[in-house]
């Protein structure tokens, strides 16, 4: 950003007004978590005391604590909210001059964990500290290290985001808004960082983004995998659906293990009918573990189907159910399991070929 060595103090009030209007608009965008939101807005109301306090001191190690104490009556959310913005601005102030940095950072350390913990509601002091530090570093990409003063916020402001226009910094509305936006982004990145495990090793936007992307992908795969397993192992079967699906699938696919695998999940439940194809397709492309898992699932399916058949027959003892099981298995016994035998069901042919007799249920029970 351009470094106009203007007289910041003169511009202060004007800046503040623009900042105020900007921040009002920007505030609407802020979609923080609930606790953060509450904290933020509470903070804004309680601002005046704080502003005067921090205004007086260039480095705000202690002052933040004082109004907090005096603000005891104020909602903790408000105080917390105030605290929340505090470290950001403090860090910015600190970050400006390296020499000054160390001390306030040291001072700030004790309060940071409390503040962050209070707001975020987590007791991760480490993260807060690291995050705070990082924020200081992240927050000043283009700042002149020579700037020492933190200006801004004369008295008033009952409703602002505390943005500090640094001396020597461009103080026009654009850069200020830009900075606010940047703050938000890094704040969100920090939050994401704590969500995503292993993100602490890599810092820097691109690395973190990469990690986050990988993590999201792996989570998605995990969810699909788990739901497939549940679908596979849940013996709740609506046999009519299974029949229909089977007939369709069988007609489509000859020796396609993919299609056979596609048949498997329908066995499980009626509900994952929506997710039959897509998770399968997605799971088949990675030929590694998920494929293996799929095979296992399919094998498991056969067992569970037989299992379910015997269970339902034994428990319900309803002839229609038994009959449908028989018919289902008989219809698909030859075709389905033959297909299976070629690829996946090498080990399981024998039990199922014997299924085709009329004493189906007895066979099933024996198999079990």
């Amino acid at each position: 950003m351009a470094r106009c060595g203007g007289d910041v103090s003169r511009h202060r009030k004007a800046d503040l007004e623009t900042v105020e209007s900007l921040c009002q608009g920007l505030l609407d965008d802020v979609m923080l978590d609930d606790d953060k939101c509450r904290a933020m807005f509470g903070y804004l109301q309680e601002w005046p005391d704080l502003a005067s306090m921090c205004h007086s001191a260039s480095l705000l190690g202690e002052p933040p604590l004082a109004p907090e104490a005096s603000n005891g009556s104020g909602s903790s959310g408000g105080g917390g909210g105030f605290r929340k913005r505090r470290p950001d601005s403090c860090l910015e102030a600190k970050g400006k001059s390296n020499s000054v940095c160390k001390r306030p950072r040291g001072k700030q350390q004790p309060c940071d964990p409390d503040q962050m913990a209070a707001v975020v509601g987590k007791g991760k002091t480490e993260r807060a500290r690291a995050g705070a530090k990082k924020k200081a570093e992240l927050a000043l990409p283009k700042d002149s290290p020579a700037t020492s003063e933190s200006t801004v916020t004369a008295g008033q402001k009952t409703d602002y985001i505390h943005v500090r226009a640094r001396r020597g910094q461009a103080t026009d509305s654009h850069s200020l808004a830009e900075r606010v936006r940047r703050e938000r982004i890094s704040e969100r990145m920090r939050y994401l960082q704590e969500l995503v495990p292993g993100c602490n090793k890599v810092t820097g936007k691109a690395g973190m983004l990469d990690e986050i992307i990988n993590y999201v992908q792996s989570l998605q795969k995990q969810v699909e995998f788990l739901s497939m397993k549940i679908a596979a192992s849940n013996p709740v079967v609506n046999f009519n659906i299974v029949e229909d699906l089977f007939s369709r699938q069988l007609s489509q696919a000859a020796c396609n293990p993919a299609a056979l695998a596609a048949m498997a999940p329908p066995i499980g439940q009626a509900e994952p009918s929506c997710l039959q194809m897509s998770p399968l397709q997605q799971m088949q492309t990675p030929a590694g573990c998920p494929g293996f898992g799929l095979e296992m699932i399919v094998n498991n399916n056969l067992f569970s189907l037989a299992h379910g058949g015997s269970m339902s027959a034994a428990a319900a003892a309803s002839v229609p159910a038994g009959a449908s099981v028989e018919s289902c298995l008989n219809v698909h016994g030859a075709a389905g399991w033959d297909i299976g035998s070629q690829s996946l069901f090498s080990g399981f042919d024998a039990p199922f070929q014997s299924v085709q007799s009329d004493s189906l249920l007895d066979n099933l029970k024996m198999e079990m």
Partner: protein, 93 residues
């Protein structure tokens, strides 16, 4: 780590790469799934995107937990000696 942003000129990681990563992330998010073949998907504001990623990750967490619970319940209900249960158990390990 601080050296990455040491000076404005030498951006170790270019803006473009970051934007690319961001768009990739956006494509992962469920909100982007509904987009038809329209090539230019609107560049959602980064903050909104990050926020959405946060909530998406949280919901994925919840879903994984939920599914795991269901699976474990199923496992408890199933016949422990059946091969299917064995398979599930081995997979979960």
């Amino acid at each position: 780590m601080s050296s990455r942003r040491s000076s404005r000129g030498s951006a170790a990681i270019s803006e473009e790469e970051i934007n690319e990563l961001i768009s990739k992330l956006q494509s992962l998010l469920p909100s982007a799934r509904g987009r038809r073949g329209g090539s230019g998907s609107q560049a959602a504001s980064t903050t909104k995107l990050l926020k959405e990623t946060c909530s998406y990750i949280k919901s994925l967490h919840r879903e994984v937990d939920d599914l795991s619970d269901r699976l474990s319940d199923l496992m408890a209900g199933m016949d422990h000696n059946s091969p299917g249960a064995e398979i599930i158990r081995s997979l979960l390990r």
